[in-house]
């Protein structure tokens, strides 16, 4: 497996580094295929919606975007997934976006204070933490306290991003200090380290464990139920597609939206 991946990565790079620079998952491939300039068959002018969403929403919003495009012919949704803090900072520096969805209220409040939002943020989903371990669980991790064992290689989110803040709160409630070996910039980076087997355990969201399928195993712990992340969503101030952005917001909070997100392990707002 590793050998194949290694060969693949190297092969890609020898063939041309153009493919190497692409950030995986930065733009939804399906949306990229349909150029936004070409009008669809039924004569509706093409409209493009740019969605900035937290890394943990990668699968959920990719699916939501696909269904939203299906329901609205001529609309193409571009999604950019990164750590919530990074997204807010990009907006502060004038990145063009229509919708912002973050993984906690604190980060969204920063955007509101900076005048980056055009609507009152509304919570559309919730999420909880789970311990992710490689399928064979090499370090025998069974509870949160095992993340404080210095002998284990532990990946956590940086305290500056939502998943890191939630993790800190969970450790506070449990009453001990974690012993991380790395603090990643967003939750997907933590998950990757566990999937690769480079970390014995990481603290991620339940939805991330869900999206990783067979490559990791999720372990519930008691404090997780006391630390619930609310996911707020808002239209970005000065959005050129404000009306369409509002429709997307409503879509995310609709029955369909909840179904899509619930399938991935998100809780209701």
């Amino acid at each position: 497996m590793t050998r194949a991946l290694f060969g693949l990565a190297l092969g890609l790079c020898v063939l041309g580094s153009a493919g190497c620079g692409a950030v995986p998952g930065s733009v939804d491939g399906a949306a990229a295929d349909r150029s936004s300039s070409g009008s669809p068959a039924d004569g509706v002018p093409a409209r493009q919606l740019t969605v900035f969403a937290a890394a943990s929403l990668t699968e959920g919003f990719t699916e939501l975007a696909r269904r939203f495009e299906e329901a609205n012919p001529g609309v193409s949704v571009r999604s950019s997934f990164a750590g919530s803090g990074t997204l807010v900072q990009q907006l502060e520096h004038g990145a063009p976006a229509d919708v912002l969805a973050t993984a906690d209220v604190v980060t969204m409040d920063r955007a509101v204070e900076a005048g980056l939002t055009g609507t009152e943020p509304v919570v559309f989903a919730t999420n909880r933490l789970q311990i992710a371990v490689p399928p064979d669980d090499p370090a025998n991790v069974t509870r949160l306290a095992d993340l404080a064992a210095p002998g284990n290689t532990i990946a956590l989110c940086a305290v500056e991003v939502p998943c890191g803040a939630a993790a800190e709160e969970a450790f506070d409630r449990a009453g001990f200090e974690p012993a991380p070996d790395t603090r990643e910039q967003d939750v997907k980076a933590v998950l990757t380290k566990v999937v690769l087997g480079e970390a014995d355990a990481g603290l991620v969201y339940r939805t991330d464990v869900h999206s990783a399928g067979e490559t990791v195993r999720g372990i519930d712990f008691t404090e997780a139920d006391e630390v619930v992340n609310d996911y707020p969503i808002a239209v970005v101030a000065d959005s050129p597609q404000a009306r369409l952005a509002r429709e997307f917001l409503d879509f995310a909070r609709s029955e369909t939206g909840h179904e899509v997100l619930a399938d991935l392990g998100f809780g209701p707002p």
């Binding site: 590793t2 050998r3 991946l5 290694f6 990565a9 190297l10 790079c13 020898v14 580094s17 190497c20 620079g21 750590g83 803090g85 990074t86 807010v88 900072q89 502060e92 290689t153 990946a155 940086a158 500056e160 991003v161 991380p180 070996d181 790395t182 603090r183 990643e184 910039q185 380290k193 690769l196 087997g197 480079e198 970390a199």
Partner: protein, 254 residues
């Protein structure tokens, strides 16, 4: 006629740096710099960049000598391959390092099972990631110097009975010393600024493996002012490097 585009180029290259200087919170500079986190990140960055440079010198100078002096089939291919990290996106370098030296990597797996050694997320991983990205600079610089060196001195020494080792130590190395030095300084600066490969392979843990560029990146998410201050610090170090090199850094690559 050429003055306009040239002026634009200057503005484009210097403008952002001037912007950094103007925006910088000068009044709070000392207070922001004097935090233990910044100090730890700076110390780690300087230490790791230096260690990476030493590693590059130990391994890169012999490699450069072979590329410049030895004749063997496939030399050009080898040369292209070892300079690949120069053009490779650093993040890809980090992924490749993980898949090679990680706990489940091609070689790392055996290191882990046989010796219990785990490289990722350690200071060693920071040094290796930096060396991986910076070594081509040194190799190219030294190779250029070797190609430009006058072989007659070496030949003369050899006819006077000097052993190959003595010739290398007393004639070859001193004659290419400026090129080696310039390459080493460039290599050090590149290692100091390395971000993508480091954060992928070594992660980022404040006080342990968090280098200056990682600290800048994290600071941008919460406190942009801190990020500006850290960037200034890195900028200062880089300016000092360039001033110390003056015109010499192109000399090795001529």
């Amino acid at each position: 006629m050429l003055i306009l585009p040239a002026g634009l180029a200057v503005a484009f290259l210097i403008g952002p740096l001037i912007g950094l200087l103007i925006v910088a919170p000068w009044a709070e500079l000392p207070a922001r710099l004097a935090t233990p986190e910044v100090f730890a990140a700076l110390r780690l960055s300087l230490w790791c960049a230096t260690a990476a440079t030493v590693l590059c010198l130990l391994l890169g100078v012999p490699l450069a000598w072979i590329l410049a002096r030895a004749e063997f089939p496939g030399r050009r291919v080898l040369r292209a391959l070892v300079t690949l990290p120069l053009v490779l996106p650093p993040v890809v370098g980090g992924v490749a390092l993980l898949l090679f030296l990680g706990r489940r990597g091609l070689v790392g797996e055996h290191l882990h099972t046989w010796f219990g050694v785990s490289i990722p997320f350690t200071v060693l991983a920071v040094v290796l990631a930096e060396a991986f990205v910076a070594m081509p600079f040194l190799v190219l610089s030294v190779e250029g110097a070797l190609r430009g060196a006058d072989r007659r001195f070496e030949e003369a020494a050899a006819t006077l009975g000097a052993s190959r080792r003595l010739v290398f130590r007393r004639i070859t190395l001193p004659s290419v010393a400026p090129g080696v030095l310039a390459g080493a300084v460039l290599c050090w600066a590149r290692a100091l600024g390395e971000f993508g490969a480091t954060i992928t392979f070594a992660g980022s843990l404040p006080g342990e493996t968090q280098t200056m560029p990682s600290a800048v990146y994290v600071a941008l998410q919460t406190s942009p002012d801190d990020a500006v201050v850290l960037s200034l610090l890195l900028l200062t170090v880089c300016v000092l490097v360039l001033v110390s090199l003056r015109e010499r850094w192109t000399g090795g690559l001529r």
